[in-house]
């Protein structure tokens, strides 16, 4: 049997690194439907999973793919699917079911330009709001924005741990560039890897009736006669269609993410100390932003970079605490996360947008920095 953790140093595409991160984390079930530019992930999964005792299942469509993923999670497997915009749209239905039934799962969205069939296959970051608001109803989930093949490994790995820990869907909001570029990827040694598993039912703990934000998870076939429903339900899992139950359930489902923000939210800071201008960027665009900030600093401008690693839940407190004179938010879309930055910023915010299709050029960001610096 081939190894689950391919310890070593490799040149891997982001998609390949994503697969290795998933398998290292314990992923043993993948269901999906081919769509460019995510198909490399499916192809490598179909080769790798059977080698480590896992299962690859190609479904007839994306609603079925995510449904199968959720069913397998309740069959006590660590599970994942990958897709791109059009498929991500079709998965919103069962994304809601995953939230409501607290089913651990990982969904990788390799973003391409939209709406509709859009730009097959040129890059974009235009699914960032869909990631948070795409399924109906009020909910919170976790979404990461990797900027490199190394992070496709690291954050996919982490996505599995967080999905298990918080019993939630976790999204890896990749894009065509990050997923298809090839870079050096370090895969750690087996003994350095820390896997988190879902909390198992413990009747004694349940009996003391303490309220928990993340309940333990009994799976099918374990003798608990569980009931799982997408309806509003009480602590036993039984439907209860009334205001109080809805309030309690939705409060807890949102609370388990929002109240654990300190553990979930990650970002990277560069030169924020004393920065008059801060660029807030994520994903592939953060690579351009890094170069733009370096060039601006060489020209004597006091610029810092805040790179969002977790995009949902949004790092509101960190944005509020920024003591800059202006924020610049470059994105490969028409201005999505910039709205969130504006909600919490204490200074003017300037978007740098494009319609998708190519990496946002460092020059565009540098130009914005220089313009903002002049106004200041």
């Amino acid at each position: 049997m081939s190894k689950a953790v391919l310890t070593g140093e490799f040149f891997l595409s982001g998609g390949a690194a994503c697969v290795e991160g998933a398998i290292a984390a314990g992923c043993r079930f993948y269901a999906g439907y081919p769509i460019t530019p995510s198909s490399e992930i499916a192809e490598r999964m179909s080769r790798r999973l059977p080698q480590v005792g896992g299962h690859y299942l190609q479904m007839e469509d994306e609603p079925g793919s995510l449904a199968a993923v959720l069913g397998a999670s309740w069959g006590h497997c660590q599970v994942m699917t990958a897709t791109s915009g059009p498929g991500f749209s079709l998965m919103q239905e069962n994304l809601g079911l995953a939230v409501m039934t607290e089913t651990p799962c990982v969904i990788v969205d390799v973003q391409r330009g939209g709406p509709s069939t859009g730009l097959p296959t040129l890059t974009s970051q235009a699914d960032m709001m869909q990631a948070k608001w795409g399924s109906h109803g009020d909910y919170e989930l976790i979404a990461y924005a990797p900027q490199s093949p190394q992070e496709m490994f690291d954050l996919t790995f982490k996505a599995f741990n967080m999905a298990e820990k918080f019993r939630t869907p976790v999204l890896v909001m990749s894009d065509k560039i990050v997923s298809q570029m090839v870079e050096r990827v370090l895969i750690p040694a087996e003994k350095q890897i820390k896997r988190v598993e879902r909390r198992r039912p413990d009747r004694a703990a349940q009996a003391n009736g303490a309220e928990v934000l993340v309940p333990p998870m009994a799976c099918a076939g374990e003798g608990f006669a569980i009931h799982v429903t997408g309806l509003t339900h009480d602590e036993r899992g039984y439907p209860a269609i009334n205001v109080e139950t809805q309030q309690r359930l939705i409060g807890r489902l949102r609370g388990k993410i929002l109240q654990n923000g300190a553990e979930i939210i990650e970002y990277e800071e560069r030169d924020l100390e004393g920065a008059r201008i801060v660029v807030v960027a994520y994903g592939s665009t953060a690579r351009s932003a890094l170069l733009a900030c370096r060039l601006a600093r060489q020209r004597g401008l006091e610029v810092g970079l805040l790179r969002l690693i977790t995009v949902w839940p949004f790092p509101a407190e960190r944005i509020k605490a920024l003591r800059a004179e202006a924020l610049i938010v470059p994105e490969c879309n028409q201005g999505q996360m910039v709205r969130e930055v504006e909600r919490f910023a204490t200074c003017p915010v300037r978007p740098v947008s494009q319609a998708g299709g190519e990496l946002l050029a460092p020059e565009s960001i540098l130009k914005a920095i220089e313009e903002v610096a002049q106004i200041g």
Binding site: G53, L57, A68, L70, G71, C219, E222, A225, V228, G230
Partner: protein, 293 residues
């Protein structure tokens, strides 16, 4: 609680609680969730009863038995059975169950859902599950309409039938479900009505013993959604109608057993019973190849 044991017609012991008012299926139903939501005269209850008795008689321990439903009146069935039970999204019970079965092949999974759920929004999943011969038992309660949403036409509504969205009669042909299932590859295909309790239970028991994808259609009265508008009367009248029109013919040519309003006979039976390599059997074989690499 004191219990007495009674043997029923050589089918093995069933335990009857001595408490007055208790029901032999109390332990298999989530009694605390009753009363159920179904209308008087609805046929879902008897069909679920047949499933529950089949569970009781099955050699597979209850711990390994799972029921998965979609959305709709029949979709609520999962919520009343006291085993691992999943009430999923509309049309997605089959793919959900598919993932679960592959993740844990020890489970015996029954998808128990309605005609609209399984054959309109979920139709694509049905034909693909039958094609891949995934080891699932699908029981479809066919009441010829969308009951829960108020009696609209669906993929099984017969031509010319009246529903709340076909006020002048339905223009379309309906699916012939046993024929569809057989063509798509199911290894066991049956049709009964919720009146034919024993035959239905036997068919479910048999399906549970098969490897691969099985399908049982259960014709079922829906007085408010279909019986009323089409002058078929109340639940009991519809049961009587089934009794009069039913003919049992396991050898029937499936192409000819589509359902219509009017005088034609309703053909029932265990129509298909064949062997084909199941998904899991084939997967186990190929997995060895992968591990050898």
């Amino acid at each position: 609680m004191a219990e007495t044991t009674m043997t029923r017609s050589g089918k093995g012991a069933i335990r009857l609680p001595s408490r007055p008012g208790a029901h032999p299926e109390d332990t298999l139903l989530r009694a605390e969730r009753l009363p159920h939501i179904w209308c008087p005269g609805c046929g879902i209850g008897p069909a679920l009863g047949a499933y529950v008795e089949a569970l009781q008689e099955s050699e597979v321990p209850l711990k390994q038995q799972v029921i998965v439903s979609g959305i709709g009146c029949t979709g609520r069935s999962a919520g009343y059975v006291n085993i691992d039970s999943f009430h999923t999204t509309h049309g997605r019970a089959i793919p959900f169950a598919t993932g679960m079965k592959i993740a844990n092949p020890d489970l015996k999974i029954t998808v128990f859902s309605g005609d609209g759920d399984l054959f309109a929004i979920g139709g694509n999943h049905f034909i693909h599950a039958a094609r891949r011969n995934i080891d699932l038992n699908v029981i479809c309660i066919n009441n010829f309409n969308y009951g829960m949403t108020g009696g609209q036409l669906g993929p099984t509504t017969p031509p010319e039938a009246l529903t709340s969205t076909s006020p002048y009669g339905h223009e379309e042909e309906s699916f012939n479900l046993p024929y569809l299932a057989a063509c798509a590859g199911a290894v066991f295909v049956a049709r009964w009505t919720s009146l034919h309790f024993l035959q239905l239970k036997r068919a479910i028991r048999h399906a549970m013993q098969k490897e691969g994808f099985t399908f049982i259609e259960v014709l079922s009265p829906c007085p408010p959604g279909f019986g009323g508008p089409n002058s078929l009367g109340e639940g009991l009248d519809q049961m009587r109608w089934y009794k009069e029109k039913a003919t049992i013919n396991p050898q029937a040519n499936l192409e000819t057993i589509g359902l219509e309003l009017g005088d034609a006979k309703i053909v029932l039976g265990d129509f298909v019973d064949r062997e084909r390599p199941s998904y899991l059997a084939r997967q186990q074989l190929l997995a060895q190849r992968a591990r050898g690499n």
